[in-house]
Symmetry: C2
Amino acid sequence: MSQQAEPIQRMAEELAKLPGIGRKTAQRLAYHLAAQPLEAVRALAFALAEGRESIRLCTRCGNYTAGELCAVCADPRRRQDILCVVRDPRDVAAMERINDYHGLYHVLHGILSPMDGVGPQDIRIRELMDRLKGQEVSELILATNPDIEGEATAAYIARLAKPLGIRVTRIAHGVPVGSDLEYTDEVTLSKAMEGRREL
Amino acid sequence: MSQQAEPIQRMAEELAKLPGIGRKTAQRLAYHLAAQPLEAVRALAFALAEGRESIRLCTRCGNYTAGELCAVCADPRRRQDILCVVRDPRDVAAMERINDYHGLYHVLHGILSPMDGVGPQDIRIRELMDRLKGQEVSELILATNPDIEGEATAAYIARLAKPLGIRVTRIAHGVPVGSDLEYTDEVTLSKAMEGRREL
């Protein structure tokens, strides 16, 4: 809208590029920032630019870190012989929230997706194989998402890792805790039946 | 969480200060930005900091502008003798969207609220009175929000402006177009009855 001050428009345009931030929300945020003290907006801008600049990938697992190793890899109390394979650094954060896993991670930074032209060489599978060959691993847990790409990627990695004599496991599929059977989709329900355990 | 890379935490903390952005959304956005090219994040940071820095208040009406006068005040086709009083610059944007108002604005940058310690000297009421005394105004439209503070502010300004012989009007209260009578609150419905017009 030509009636809007140009700086507001520029701010809103950039904010609207963020996921989940539509044109209206971006505009609301831009007006909010316009009414904030200059210092507060500078602090936000600095945190974003400087934060992005200082992010490195952990040289061992590929998780985000500001240093050489991520907090998990640098922790000597973690079990070094269990690796959990995830797609993104945010999946590491999700796993860490359960406070129940004490091994290490391997972050793929992507998922196999022939439709999108993503092959094994585009994600950190070679780095994973190097780790598996270079260190004693007693269990490799495949924790990619339970969708088509996640399953295919897990199957692909399992085929590569098993010949090395490593125990390869996959996280369980089933009915989420707190959910309602009536509203659970058929595939999940069938996986839950398939994976049933004796009590 | 100590398991999260520190830059991610700093980004998320700053983003969570934005209105409507909770801790979870802020974290999701931080992870998103971490995966973006450095240049894209720098462009966002620059647009915010530089945008905020270049925002001025229109010396005439108080609307946001990058220059001396805002786009509305600088437009010679606008009627100079009608003023519409609004609370925020974003209300100017809302009014402009109807494409039906051709006068000027006056932005109060706040609303009278004794509970929050906001008095007449804290918002741009003196500037409004100066304008009313300094130029020919045939109509003063009070378009503050239809809530307690908005009504009180409108009443306060009306009391000051009427002795100057200026026609003072208030935007209509009533049933929003497309809404359902059944779900309209009683006060709005009673205002709609009160303001009924002959067809």
